[in-house]
């Protein structure tokens, strides 16, 4: 296991303890302060944090420190294991009706992403052979029905609606009949967003439930939700009996502590994660990765997957060849910058790399941010193609022109050129190394991600 973020802080806490064989109550309390902070910063509900601390303490005090671990690592391990255990395993199956159609009901607060998620689910389940019918039962929000209709037509999935003058109960009931007549085996009901404390609207959902007896009631929750997530999940669960949760907007930079809160109070599995606005941006939810993300331990798996989906492997192969042949030019460098930008903001990407998670480390690396990328880009863009290919032959007058064109100074142009040369050298070493290791099927990482950061900026 690779540690960073919280892990680093704990290492710090336990520095004086090196070599101690057994964790005392005091040691653990000290460590748990950091754990508490990490969890609260991630928006885990404070009650959940308290109980969690208690659990970790019970397990940690008196436990023998494994010989291979420092006390700090030991606590992180316990924290990580507890958290992963609490989050449960992957569970992304929808309850299917013994006799079709299967009815799925989507519920949640306003603005959580129910409509988009309904369409995503229809799209996903259709791929596995279902014949979905989307049902527009949000009669309140202006143009909500139209929104679902547009998404349905994009996917070529039928949308059942009766305008906004009929009650959601009537709509849901009629939709079910419609599904049976038209041989649809999956009915997905999009309901209006509502506050969990709005008794009238919560009763309306109970009535819809009673009318169509859904096989699956899914709570859609924004991953950025704060402390209130527990009350929301608890109330929806009490009144409707949830079967699962969908966590949306996980493609941002939220730590997503709401996931833990919701799981802890409802016991319901989080089944899916929404990771973008496109209609295929839905994934099975991985509790173990979420545990690491909440703790700020670097979501390596996500990074690798992101990189894999973003980097064109053929292009990577070409690039690796170029590096080995040492004719990696500023043009390629630019292209790399574009690739990295596609992954998201640099801070976030770096945050996903274990060991680089903490803000302090980032500072040490010299405040890498996207602005600097823009800056590098501006300089390279101001060069002629010849200059990009012959970076070491750029004359003083050319540098002046480039500086003017990019709104920078000659020193800055020089700095970039020097850094580029260093990077090239290091990349060569890196690819040679990789060639030697040659793990089967391992993709070449983007050199900008892999190394050279310190020297680059």
């Amino acid at each position: 296991m690779v540690f960073s973020g919280l892990a680093e802080k704990l290492q710090e806490t336990f520095r004086k303890l090196k070599g101690k064989g057994r964790l005392t109550g005091e040691d653990v309390d000290e460590a748990l302060k950091e754990v508490r902070r990490a969890l609260l910063d991630a928006d885990v509900n404070f009650k959940v944090v308290k109980d969690f601390q208690q659990r970790v303490k019970e397990r940690a005090v008196g436990s023998d420190v494994l010989t291979s671990l420092t006390p700090g690592q030991q606590v992180v391990k316990i924290v990580h294991d507890e958290l992963a255990g609490l989050m449960g395993g992957v569970q992304s199956k929808i309850n299917l009706a013994p006799k079709p159609p299967t009815v799925v009901m989507m519920v949640g607060l306003q603005g959580g992403g129910k409509t988009t998620t309904s369409a995503k689910l229809a799209n996903m389940l259709r791929k596995s052979g279902r014949r979905p019918l989307l049902v527009a039962a949000d009669i309140y929000r202006p143009a909500a029905i139209k929104q679902l209709q547009v998404l349905g037509s994009q996917l070529d999935v039928p949308v059942f609606s009766m305008g906004d003058r009929n009650s959601p109960v009537d709509i849901a009931r009629a939709a079910l009949e419609n599904a049976v007549t038209n041989n649809r085996d999956l009915v997905i009901i999009d309901t209006a967003g509502r506050l969990h404390v709005d008794d009238e609207l919560m009763s309306e959902l109970e009535a819809v439930k009673a009318a169509v007896k859904p096989h699956e009631i899914l709570l859609v929750v924004d991953a950025m939700t704060g402390q209130v997530a527990v009350n929301v999940a608890e109330t929806f669960n009490q009144r409707l009996g949830l079967d699962g949760v969908v966590l949306t907007k996980l493609d941002g930079d939220t730590r997503g502590g709401a996931a833990l809160s919701i799981k802890a109070v409802t016991g319901c599995p989080i089944k899916f994660a929404g990771v973008g606005e496109k209609l295929d941006a839905i994934e099975p939810f991985h509790p173990d990765r979420m545990a690491d993300r909440i703790l700020g331990m670097g979501d390596v798996m996500t990074l690798i997957e992101k990189a894999q989906s973003n980097f064109d492997s053929e292009q990577m192969e070409k690039l690796n060849k170029k590096i080995r042949a040492a004719d990696f030019t500023l043009e390629d460098f630019m292209q790399q910058i574009q690739e990295v930008k596609k992954l998201g903001p640099l801070q976030q990407i770096i945050g996903m790399i274990p060991g680089l998670g903490s803000a302090k480390k980032l500072k040490e690396l010299g405040e890498i941010d996207d602005k600097e990328l823009v800056y590098v880009e501006a300089i390279v863009k101001s060069m002629t193609p010849w200059e990009r290919r012959h970076s070491h032959e750029i004359s003083g007058s050319r540098k002046k022109r480039i500086a003017r064109g990019s709104g920078t100074s000659v020193q800055e142009v020089n700095r970039l050129l020097k850094q580029f040369e260093q990077t090239k050298k290091m990349m060569k070493q890196f690819t040679d190394m990789e060639k030697n290791i040659k793990k089967g099927g391992k993709m070449g990482m983007n050199p900008l991600l892999g190394l050279g950061k310190k020297d680059l900026f």
Binding site: K146, M224, T254
Partner: protein
């Protein structure tokens, strides 16, 4: 697993209002002690104030208690109110008028309440006797244009729209021309919800901003970032990145009619100095208030 039931039990117990909690916390206590401060810190954390800011507030409170030689726990609440109002600002924040037209760009992540807020703002300015024009700059989300159009009809103001998929900067350009030709006082531009971490989408917003400042000097005069009060600490990142990309001038805190307090704005105000200008307290056309220190702190405590 005993944890879940225990948790449930304790959560039910904490479902009283903030005020009651503070009151039950301070009444019947003889002395201001560590336990009291700890509990206060927890109440603040529960309002999404954030661990750091909550700790700072409690530390400041401790100092104030010492300075003013306060011994009575009942005195804590007004002191805390004073501290929070001190950070958030005492008075109501005026709109940055400019132009004419005064151009207001509304930005934020997906689903926070941008379009609804624009509907409410249109109503608010119109009641004020101003001539309002809306621009359907969300050309991305399905039926977003229809949604804004319904609000335009409800409030009886004009709307400039293109079709789905068109360039939002072009919509903004047309809207500015129309606003000038029609002698509009306030032009409000809707934008598609976007995560602040997507640099290409933030670039798109910058472009909209550039088009506007080219057409009307000083525009947009107001960039309102809409924050959902149910959002936790991520709102800080939202404020930072939207701020960098678009120069946010004010915050609209929505959905305060629920139980969430949006306490994260205290940290934002401290760190980034962006004032809260409006709050949303429901889905209706009237459910918008200009920020008021007293009301906000009250809301935070209720």
């Amino acid at each position: 697993m005993g944890l879940f039931s225990k948790l449930k039990e304790s959560l039910t117990k904490t479902r009283q209002g903030f005020v009651e909690k503070i009151e039950s916390l301070v009444t019947g206590r003889k002395a201001i002690d560590q336990e009291l401060y700890d509990e206060l810190e927890e109440i603040l954390i529960q309002a999404d104030v954030g661990a750091d800011t909550a700790l700072d507030l409690v530390e400041d409170l401790r100092k104030l208690v010492k300075e003013r030689k306060v011994g009575d726990p009942e005195q804590l609440k007004p002191l805390l109110q004073e501290l929070i109002a001190g950070i958030m600002g005492e008075e109501t924040y005026a709109v940055n008028w400019g132009g004419p037209p005064t151009v207001i760009l509304v930005v934020g992540v997906n689903g926070v309440g941008k379009t609804t807020t624009i509907g409410k703002l249109a109503h608010y300015f119109k009641e004020n006797g101003q001539k309002v024009l809306l621009a359907a700059g969300d050309t991305f989300r399905a039926a977003a244009i229809d949604q804004l159009e319904i609000w335009a009809n409800r409030t009886g103001v004009d709307i400039i729209k293109h079709h789905e998929g068109s360039d939002p900067a072009a919509v903004a350009f047309d809207a500015l021309q129309a606003a000038r030709a029609r002698k509009i006082d306030v032009l409000i531009i809707d934008t598609a919800g976007r995560l602040h971490t997507k640099s290409n989408l933030m670039d798109e917003l910058k472009k909209v901003g550039r088009v506007m400042s080219r057409e009307v000097p000083g525009a947009p005069h107001e960039v309102l970032l809409v924050l959902d009060s149910t959002t936790g600490q991520n709102a800080i990142s939202q404020a930072k990145l939207f701020g960098e990309a678009t120069g946010v001038t004010g915050i609209v805190l929505t959905k305060l009619d629920g139980t969430a307090k949006g306490g994260v704005v205290i940290g934002i105000r401290k760190e980034l100095d962006i004032p809260v200008k409006f709050i949303g307290i429901g889905e209706g056309i009237d459910d918008l208030r200009s920020y008021d220190a007293g009301d906000y702190v009250k809301a935070l405590f209720n």
